[in-house]
Amino acid sequence: MSAYEDGAACRRHGLVAPARVDRWPNFGLLALMVAAGGLLSGVFLSFHYAPTMEAARTSVLHLQERVTGGAWLRGLHHWAGNFAIVLAALHGLRLFWHGGFKKPRRALWVIGCLIFLVIVGFAYTGYLLTGDERAYAGLGIMQAVAGSTPVVGEAAARAALGGDAISSATLTRLYAVHTMVLPIILVLLLGLFAYFWRCLGPARHHADTTDEVVPLTDYALRRDLIAGLAILAALVFFAWKFPPAIGPQADPIGPGAPDAQPEWFLLWVNELLHMDSLASIPNATFVLAGLVPGLLVALGIGLPLLFRNPERAPGKRKPELILAAVILLGIGILGARAAARAPATDAETTTETSGGETGNGPGDNSGSGADSDAETLNAAASTILRKFKCASCHVIDNAEDGGDSGPMLWRFGNKDGIPKFGDLYTRAYFRAKVGDPEKFWPDTGMVYAKRAGPMTPEKLATLERWFFDGAPTPKSGDD
């Protein structure tokens, strides 16, 4: 063992690093940097969040749409979390490639794996906090998976939810885990990591068998800083171009979201749960969503004990590499399949719309000119409604999805007493309100719609015609 690796160099010179480094920045350091950004933005996000079923989504929406800088703060927090997962995973993969998990770095590998789990834990608990239908679906899966645990299932589900149902107690305890428990564990693990790292320094390239060391301050710091700046730029770009979405208000007794995919890093588990061929396994929920991921985590943490061969060159570690490749490929394929499924729902909606535009939609009334006019109007209105995200707050026309912070907009009412749209509002009111919501009523929640762009007179006229004179939309989405 070299002087570097047994820590003798550290005792002689203070913190040291290998003199020879490869061309990549230190992904671990970069992960630490974005994690710090996530922690920092999280502190300020917590000023604007209420962990209750009633207020969670409203408080997030308020922050995002009405608080200056709020959308930036939430976007940066969201993407910092995602970047941290990716960078930490890259760090782990690189260490694996160079045999950096082997003696004398075994303790560091184990601690690093635990840190990675905490980072994923942040992203998992974070996405469940938004109070929309997607988060509610995720909470339901959490409940089911915890409940499927043999013997202690019921207790585990109650512990996860804080009761017998998904409730404000659930959000409050997830919030406590997200903002209190996980940060404390993370800091403790980072301290432990630093303790073990102090005399080992950054891992060596697998081909570096020399004993050369340099003071740590020289160690490729410029490269890491430049890479750090690039990562920050990417973070800003993602926060700007891909702001985290928030869906309709979760409604425990409503029809639920038409499509509720979890965060990307959980897609592979979701795909396992999705596969009919696996559903016949006894207690499939537990096996697929609890046991399989749990075993993989155990395998990752136990890697240094499983492969004790001190050889670090990848060419001489075929079994390790093949095992890793099979697992990563499997996870990748499952994730890709799930991701390919996700946007299909959007595509179906689009097809529906364009079908309407050409006048041969799946409804039973295609053919006559008047009906095709009605369908054109339906399609045009639905495009506008989607663009302005009206369904975030309103249930429109008996739709399956829609928020409930705005009044129901049912064009034809129903027998249970929901009045017809035309009975509730006059045309003049509609034009004034929808044409310029803020001018009409300064405190209106409809400023949320403003993000989609200006409500042009043409669009307003289309909407007015649809709301007051339009024909029913043919039911076609569900079959």
């Binding site: 020879r20 920092l40 300020f44 604007h48 408080s59 390239h205």
Partner: protein, 171 residues
């Protein structure tokens, strides 16, 4: 500083960080230091600006008052005092707060008070024709003037007007 060419074959590492001269080392250190400062500034700006903006938002916004309907004049007998509610937009909520309406013994004049004691902000109660503060024993007359205890300033009055039979309060 010596560097391998990017396309050099395995082993894929360069020999870096080995100073040729003292001057070279100092230049490099200076550059790294500047880079570190720049990184710190960019990081601070990216996360600091939205943080400050979101903290400042509730401080800079708000405070808007508007006319609210406080019922009809007919419901308020001459000389009577009663509570009225007004909405306050706060964060993601619209909360309700209460104040008092006092109608003059004669005529249509109506005065609207805030229910907050001017001494330390507790909610006053109307009892025995006076406003009593439960916290430090302040007492205000039915006109809102301080008559006993620590308060020295009258209860805050809201602007009022009559819109036909309706009492409107700017709260």
């Amino acid at each position: 500083m010596t560097q391998g060419t990017p396309s050099s074959p395995a082993p894929k590492h360069r020999t870096g960080n080995q100073p040729d001269t003292q001057v070279d080392t100092m230049n490099r250190r200076g550059f790294t230091k500047r880079l570190a400062k720049m990184f710190g500034a960019v990081f601070g700006a990216i996360f600091g600006l939205p943080a400050v903006a979101t903290l400042a938002d509730p401080v800079l916004g708000g405070g808007a008052s508007k006319w609210v309907d406080a019922g009809t004049l007919a419901e308020l007998a001459p000389g009577a005092v009663k509570r009225f509610k007004y909405p306050v937009q706060a964060g993601w909520e619209t909360r309700e707060e209460a104040g008092f309406l006092m109608r003059a013994e004669t005529g249509d004049e109506v005065v609207a008070f805030s229910a907050r004691c001017t001494h330390a902000g507790c909610k006053v109660r109307f009892k025995d024709d006076e406003f009593h503060c439960p916290c430090h024993g302040g007492v205000f007359s039915r006109n809102g003037d301080p008559i006993a205890g620590p308060p020295t300033v009258p209860l805050v009055r809201f602007e009022t007007r009559l819109d036909q039979d309706h009492i409107k309060v700017k709260a």
